[in-house]
Symmetry: C2
Subunit: 409 residues, 2 copies
């Protein structure tokens, strides 16, 4: 059902020097599928992350935050699908800790050098023995050229594995970036519900990493909405192994920082869009651009109000140009003093709303033509300033209900 989305060929996914990936069939929830991923990082790698804003942050998220805050080296990431280890209290924290210790023993590092991640059903105990039993297989299969398999191992209701790569040169030195992500429900821009791992062999000062990961998230994963829910387990991790031989990037004002950031954003944005294209039950991929806003935050709020509205999303599913619902959604964004008579709205190239009302030139046939497309652009101008924001989303179909009604069966 994903909209214009195919898995990237493994040969287009570049190995990252200093990083290896391994797998296991741990049987966390279902048998006979890879559901455990281990990422191993060479010494000297710099790692930073951003996590869910949900108050019920899952146990692995709590452990990740603690291990990253400790400031020591990070040497491994362990990801299980099938169980979120959330709402599991002290036992859940102990389980995440046990997983870190098991990895640390096999890799010869400190438990605090391991970051745990979980995705799946909430409020059920993690089968920690099965996860621990799977770790030796992960270690035994470690290899640098296994990104495509890594993308598959972390899927839950995703229909297409999501992985992308890009190369750039920093001061003439070749650098590679590869990332993987999984969606696909509980998504909203505050922190798209997902797991995403972005790696590069670029050499970045550890002190700059928290800023870099936040900037990349804001321009990519924080721009996706599927259903407005935010998961308890959202995590996005940026890893820089430092194996490329360019001078270390230690200033956010440097040209190389900006070049690297742009390339990281390009890969992350493709992964973020892939998540919306593969939103649960998605049949349309929708890009919402809000411009003419007084601030970027204001533009974001309007774009989010459109992307979150079930009424807007069902109209897109039906290919019905019931475009008054877009106007309703804009009005619900809670923008104080919004002068509706200044608002313009385009559906691709079709002007639908001019000066806050139906455009004189608008013909329903034109709206209907665009609504039938698999990819649709909505552009709103608020007439209040120069700030803008883009959000990617998908429509709301029978299959969203079906997938979420039957998720555990």
């Amino acid at each position: 059902m994903a909209v214009n989305l195919v898995a990237e060929s493994p040969e287009n996914l570049y190995a990252i020097d200093g990083l290896e990936l391994g797998f296991a069939q741990a049987g966390v929830r279902k048998a006979n599928r890879r559901d455990l991923l281990l990422i191993s990082l060479a010494p000297g790698s710099a790692v930073a992350g951003v996590f869910t804003e949900n108050s019920f942050a899952a146990a692995p998220v709590q452990v990740c935050r603690r291990h990253l805050a400790a400031g020591g080296p990070i040497r491994a990431l362990l990801v299980n699908a099938g169980n979120a280890n959330c709402g599991t209290g002290a036992q859940g924290l102990a389980a995440a800790q046990t997983c870190c210790e098991a990895v640390a023993r096999l890799l010869g590092c400190e438990p605090t050098a391991v970051l745990p991640f979980s995705t799946g059903v909430i409020l059920e105990p993690l089968p920690v023995d099965r996860v621990v039993a799977g770790i030796p297989d992960c270690v035994a299969t470690l290899g640098a050229a296994r990104w495509a398999e890594a993308a598959s191992a972390i899927m839950t209701t995703d229909t297409v594995p999501k992985a992308r790569s890009r190369r750039l040169a920093l001061g003439g030195v070749p650098v590679a970036i590869t990332g993987i992500a999984k969606g696909v429900g509980m998504l909203q821009p505050r922190m798209a519900t997902m797991l995403a791992y972005l790696a590069t062999d670029a050499h970045v000062a550890a002190a700059l990493m928290p800023r870099l990961v936040r900037e990349v998230a804001d321009a990519s994963f924080n721009r996706v909405s599927v259903d407005g829910d935010t998961s308890t387990n959202d995590s996005f991790i940026l890893m820089a192994t430092g194996r490329a031989r360019h001078p270390v990037i230690d200033s956010a004002a440097s040209a190389q920082y900006l070049e690297l950031r742009a390339a990281l954003i390009a890969v992350a944005a493709e992964l973020a869009q892939a998540i919306a294209r593969d939103g649960e039950g998605a049949t349309k991929f929708i890009t919402v651009v809000v411009e003419g806003a007084a601030s970027e935050d204001e533009a974001h709020r309007v774009a989010k109000a459109i992307a979150h509205s079930p009424l807007v999303k069902t109209a897109f599913f039906a290919s019905d140009p019931n475009l008054g619902r877009l106007l309703m959604a804009i009005g619900n964004a809670g923008i104080a003093g919004l002068a509706t008579e200044r608002i313009q709205l385009y559906l691709d190239d079709v002007e639908v709303i001019a000066r806050g009302e139906r455009a004189a030139s608008y013909m329903e046939a034109d709206g209907a033509r665009v609504m039938k497309q698999a990819e649709i652009g909505i552009r709103v101008n608020l007439g209040r300033g120069t700030a803008q924001c883009t959000v990617w989303t998908c429509d709301f179909s029978y299959d969203y209900v079906k997938i979420n009604a039957e998720y555990r069966t």
Copy 2:
């Protein structure tokens, strides 16, 4: 599809002295159905209203606000279904004005004594000639005992007409209350999307009416959520004809004010619950009670986060006790400093979450038993204080998508 909801028998809907109702088949959107309602009020009636917070308030809402703000007497209300007269600019305002003038001519009052209301499709011009042509039929059919027909005339995708009555005595003098409402999509607590009209023959000072209507709305229609969207046309009007012969109620501190308010809230809450029971595609009626909050606003935010979550609502549709989604929704309410380890959650009588994690006594079979019911209670204790709030909502089914995808066809 409505959950345990039947139309009230016409003989249980009390006439309100000083108020008459008339109808027409104006053909606003479809032929051969009553789609125009006129409510005529005797001189001396006091009227107040609350309206949508959507920035794109429809033309009739703008005219209502202006006419009520003018402070003159209100003598009539005109309601059309089938077209929202929203996003229609100056022409839409003129159309609403034209409707008021046509009513005023026939009833012999000022145009500013008429309040217009519209519900239906947004962004299409109101067929004002057809509405005006229907008004004489409305006037010709005016009668006091036509509340059941009034409830039917304002329906859009409602499956059951919503009308309720109640009697009380104020200082020994009998007083009647009758109300009607229509839903049923675009509903959220900020102002449930709907039209509702509540009338009484009680004698209330005009100056108290704005306060009274707001207090009644806050305890009834503002406690409903269907899909989190807020319509451009939401309106709730309270009318007091003053024909009952008790002394005028002119203080919000008086016992009679409190008695009347309680009775009005009882009727309005029943209508509000009826809207959730008849939510688009609803198969379950869900009452969310949040208690132990630091403030009522906080309790309301948590209840709303639960009632709005598509993931929670699809799990209820599936009768799947995937109750981690409730925990996810609570965590998304944005309550600063929420101590998750204090949270308790009950599904009817079943303790699901204790101290922020799965309760030791919880058995999935118990959760599954409650989830199969047509009416379900969710009770959350935040362990932060003594404030509480109740919100009524429904589940999210295939039919919600179907109804909204095909609304205009």
